[in-house]
């Protein structure tokens, strides 16, 4: 057993667990996008970043790829972590504004504007499709090509793949293909239209029951109602 | 070339000994420096033969931290071929009217032995090249 601290709490992890797995085990929510159980970890979307270490030497690492280490100090929701997550969402939304998964994340994390030119590329290069194709479907028909700003997911020579069986697993797992969101206005990157507009505790109580007096500050369960 | 023989630790030292002296020249330092005067007059008077004899002698003696350089006409054309011998920390010595035999003698007696060959000396402590 590996013992370390997460959000001030002493936690124990099995040998080989990642920080994400440990957090899940203890019921601590960490957002993810390119992570999927049953597929190898990728660590590309950077949504699951958490802060490790203390003081000047603290840094952000992706919880899905970072192994649980003896004596580590982990904090899952700091200002620094949130600033990074928000920026990742903003960057990804600018690539694929039509993805409902991303729009929902934007709502959840209070990302209300996109300051970059929209690309409408509809792919955020999370690599889920390439991993499901290779690891679960045993086909390896698609993969990453090129690098840097030219990076894309494609078949060999951009032609129809000889090994693709048209199983559709890639589309099933894609955060952008599957659930589409048009938004109220085609030119607005963020619609914020699908929010649960009220604190979730209001389903059960008349009064706000959140122990954080200022509802919504933590951002994990509610957003201000828009209209 | 050390050949394709596998080296042992003592072989390394041998190679180092052997090549080090040959390479000393690249550091611009040696125990002695011989300047053969090779102006047109010097060459006409046989400075090339003097040079060859000297290099021959150096090679044979396997003493190789002796630096041989050339210089232009020293202005004493009637005394050519000439050479200047500088031993570390001693004033330079000029020799004139050289022959291959004379330079060999200078090599053995002055450069190796440290005794200047008085009967051949033209002058001591004259200007150096630099």
């Amino acid at each position: 057993m590996i013992t370390f601290r997460m959000n001030g709490l002493e936690v124990k992890a099995e040998e080989g667990w990642s920080l994400l797995e440990t957090a899940k085990f203890y019921g601590l929510a960490i957002p993810t996008l390119c992570h999927h159980e049953g597929l190898t970890e990728f660590g590309g979307c950077r949504l699951c970043v958490v802060e490790i270490g203390e003081g000047l030497r603290s840094k952000l690492v992706s919880a899905c790829t970072y192994p649980a280490e003896e004596g580590l100090v982990v904090r899952t929701d700091t200002t620094r972590v949130w600033a990074a997550r928000r920026m990742m969402i903003e960057l990804m939304l600018a690539m694929a504004p039509g993805s409902k998964v991303l729009q929902d994340l934007a709502s959840k994390f209070n990302v209300t504007r996109v300051r970059f030119k929209l690309r409408h590329g509809e792919c955020v290069l999370c690599g889920l499709c390439t991993r499901i194709c290779a690891e679960q479907m045993d086909a390896a028909a698609i993969g990453f090509q090129q690098r840097g700003h030219k990076r894309k997911i494609s078949t060999p020579f951009d032609a129809r793949s000889e090994v693709c069986r048209l199983c559709g697993a890639c589309m099933y797992i894609c955060p952008a293909c599957q659930l589409r969101c048009q938004g109220p206005d085609a030119d607005t990157a963020i619609c914020n239209g699908c929010l649960t507009m009220e604190p979730s505790c209001l389903d059960h109580y008349d009064d706000l029951q959140c122990w954080m007096y200022d509802a919504g500050r933590c951002g994990t369960c509610v957003q201000e109602k828009k209209s | 070339m050390a050949g394709t023989k596998k080296l042992r630790i003592q072989d390394l030292a041998k190679i180092r000994e052997k090549t080090k002296s040959l390479m000393a020249i690249r550091e611009g330092e040696g125990r002695a420096r011989v300047t053969v005067h090779m102006g047109t007059c010097g060459i006409a008077a046989g400075a090339r033969e003097i040079m060859e004899a000297l290099l021959d002698e150096i090679g044979r003696a396997k003493i190789q931290d002796v630096i041989v350089t050339t210089s232009g006409c020293a202005g004493l054309c009637n005394k050519e071929p000439m050479a200047t011998v500088e031993i570390k920390n001693q004033p330079p010595v000029k020799y004139g009217d050289l022959t291959p035999e004379k330079i060999k003698k200078i090599f053995v007696q002055h450069i190796l032995g440290g005794q200047m060959v008085a009967e051949l000396v033209l002058g001591v402590g004259s200007e150096t090249m630099y």
Binding site: A140, G143, Q145, Q146, P156, F157, E162 | -
Partner: protein
């Protein structure tokens, strides 16, 4: 276009047909054919027993490889930092104008491929243009024309 299969195979064999030598194999194929023909990549994937997409991934990731045939002359413009501050971009623009192709492409007549490189390590003579391995240092806009003609001439006759 048919690719010389025996040639490709001999290059694969030269590196014992091992997956870890994929990059070395591709470098050799690139050297022999001046680019990576699709058929050769298929053959490599098959011989090494790996998915074609992974071979393509490597082939498109590294700058040394080209998946399209390249010109007779490879014209490299150094855009390292030292060349950049000394005016490398202007030289590239001039070459793009003279050859009428954007960087990274081959002229229509197949004579020149214009490429950029991040640094050749000879910053002292920058800006540098290298054509077919021959270095042209201290390049200026005016020198570009004469340099190109030098390579164009033998082909014209």
């Amino acid at each position: 276009m048919d690719t010389d299969k025996t040639k490709v195979q001999s290059l694969i064999d030269k590196h014992q047909g091992l997956k870890k030598n994929l990059i070395a194999i591709l470098l050799d194929i690139q050297e022999s054919f001046n680019y990576l023909p699709p058929d050769a990549l298929r053959q490599v994937a098959k011989s090494l027993g790996m998915p074609l997409i992974d071979v393509c991934g490597v082939a498109t990731f590294y700058r040394a490889f080209s998946l399209t045939p390249r010109g007779k002359h490879i014209c490299l413009v150094c855009l390292g930092t030292a060349c950049h501050v000394r005016g490398g971009p202007k030289i590239l623009e001039e070459l793009e104008r003279k050859l009428d192709v954007p960087a990274g492409e081959t002229t229509k007549d197949g004579q020149f491929t214009l490429e950029t490189v991040a640094c050749l390590g000879c910053c002292a003579i920058g800006p540098v243009v290298v054509i077919d391995g021959e270095y042209h240092g201290h390049a200026t806009i005016r020198k570009i024309g004469p340099i190109l003609t030098k390579y164009q001439k033998p082909q014209a006759s």
